[in-house]
């Protein structure tokens, strides 16, 4: 079955692999470069916190870290698009081309067929997203070494398990869309729209009702550097929600991640269930 998946969707799989591994490699290279600047040395942080001037040599690296925003930020949406691209074609392409008649006429166990048919693209997606996520985790750690990623929402959703889970969720949802529509292009468009909306919703719903661990006093924050989660253009510390009081998950970060994982897992299960129902009930023609 892997051979069928590879021969029928190899272009999408190669694209997802290239993008995921490419992001991972680029992130690792950048992370290594940033580490070489010894970002976050106490001397430099003191200069920045006191805003005595821009003479700190690490500022060059800081500028580079800002330019890496794109590389980091891209992983907010890439897993959703990658999962949507692969998932949308698992069933839809077979129905659209009429090839699904062959497996569905050979066995009535359609859900088992779906599991076997989806396994290889899912593995490709997982490999791609794991590589990208590992690279991004290193980059996130390197670009703001003064921040503990496990206590801050800086670059939240771009490292760790989140991109991998997001990719799987998108894959499940898109597979359901493909099974329901049975059309390649329609399924792709609808899946990408739904996945983009889901990505935005997941992003904006953070921290998922978990209260802040610490309310930071701006004066203290500026003096100590604590709670810096992002930088404005004028080098003032800002938060992920500019204009609001800074949110610091601190020790509650694990709760934030658990709730995010639960939301993504529930959405994945919904997608899998919908795909199974659609595959069981639908006719093999578009």
């Amino acid at each position: 079955m892997a051979h069928v998946a590879w021969r029928t969707t190899r272009i999408e799989m190669i694209l997802v692999l290239v993008v995921g591994i490419g992001i991972g490699i680029a992130a690792v290279i950048d992370a290594l470069g940033l580490s070489a600047f010894e970002l976050g040395s106490p001397a430099c942080l003191a200069v920045l916190a006191g805003r005595d001037g821009w003479s700190c040599p690490e500022l060059e690296a800081l500028g580079r870290a800002t330019s890496d925003d794109i590389l980091v930020g891209i992983l907010i949406i890439v897993p959703w698009l990658a999962g949507g691209l692969l998932g949308s074609q698992v069933v839809a392409r077979e129905i659209d081309r009429g090839t699904i008649v062959l497996p569905w006429s050979l066995s009535g166990a359609r859900v088992r067929w779906l599991v076997r048919r989806a396994a290889f693209p899912l593995v490709v997606l997982l490999v791609s997203m794991v590589v990208a996520s590992v690279g991004e985790s290193l980059l996130v750690a390197a670009r703001r070494p003064w921040l503990d990623p496990w206590a801050s929402l800086a670059d939240f959703g771009t490292w760790g398990l989140t991109p991998v889970l997001a990719g799987v969720t998108a894959f499940a949802v898109a597979t359901a869309v493909g099974a329901a529509t049975g059309r390649q292009v329609l399924s792709l468009v609808v899946s990408l729209v739904i996945c983009t909306l889901l990505a935005l919703a997941i992003r904006h719903a953070a921290p998922y009702g978990v209260p802040s661990d610490t309310w930071i006093d701006w004066e203290v924050a500026e003096r100590t550097g604590a709670g810096f989660v992002d930088w404005e253009l004028d080098a003032r510390p800002a938060t992920w929600q500019t204009g609001q009081l800074p949110y610091v998950p601190g020790d509650r970060m694990i709760e934030v991640l658990a709730r995010q994982s639960a939301i993504l897992s529930a959405t994945t299960l919904l997608g899998v269930g919908a795909a199974a129902v659609a595959v069981r009930r639908r006719r093999p023609t578009p």
Partner: protein, 297 residues
Amino acid sequence: MRRPDGSRVLLAEGLSKRFGRDVWALRDISISIDSPGVIGLVGPNAAGKSTLMKTWMGFERPTKGSVAVCGDDPTRRSEQALQHLGYVPQVPALYRELSVSRHLDLAAAIRPGFDRAHAERRLDDLGVPLSARAGHLSGGQAAQVSLAIALGTRARVLLLDEPLASLDPLARREMLDVLARDTTEHGSTALLSSHVVADVERVCDRLIILGVGRILLDATITETRARHRLVLGERPADGADSRVIGSAETADRVPAWVILVTDRALSGQDHPSTQEPTLEQVVLAYLASASRRGDWQ
């Protein structure tokens, strides 16, 4: 070939299928098939032949009535029902990127008990290269691959949905020969839908004529020939022993009528001006009759 539990190989009872609000593909169809051999399913386009087969395959759900394959409802117990079925669609459902050999691998992976060697032998006999990609095969070769996969399932029932439609005469003959040989050797049942009456006549034991969702005739080929007569000239009147089916033409384009005669009439003196019709004349008469009654709307 009724099963030990008494269930028929293929059964449709009061089967109706509607698409959308008012397009009826099948209306109150009842068919029972429990004998081995090849059965011809003949009818014009949109007669409901494909829908009937797809309902047995579980690809379509009945709007009314029920269907069963060896006693199993294909919509509720699709795994059990499909293990008795082999299916050849009108357009071969092959992956153009995969080789023929990979198709056999796929079938073996999906279908428990798939006889790969049997399918390979069929293809080898016909000179279809296993290494060729499906996308590079001719229409006839693709149809043969499709049939070989269906035969490789060793299913008790084969449903062949106009597999000959796009084939040249030689390829048709090869395919029909393979089908006839296989059903004879393995005692299986094949339901072959076709537009071409000559093909049906060549291999079938029984004929079912479907006219826009309704069964117009269901009889063995021998019965069909024996119970119909061709009357030349003016339209005869319906009588106690005979019923006019529809108009026909002789080979010389002489207008004629196909009539259905009762057993009593058969045992008595045959009408001097009648002759035995060809199967094609019978089929065309039934279809013309359905058309005249407005069944095509």
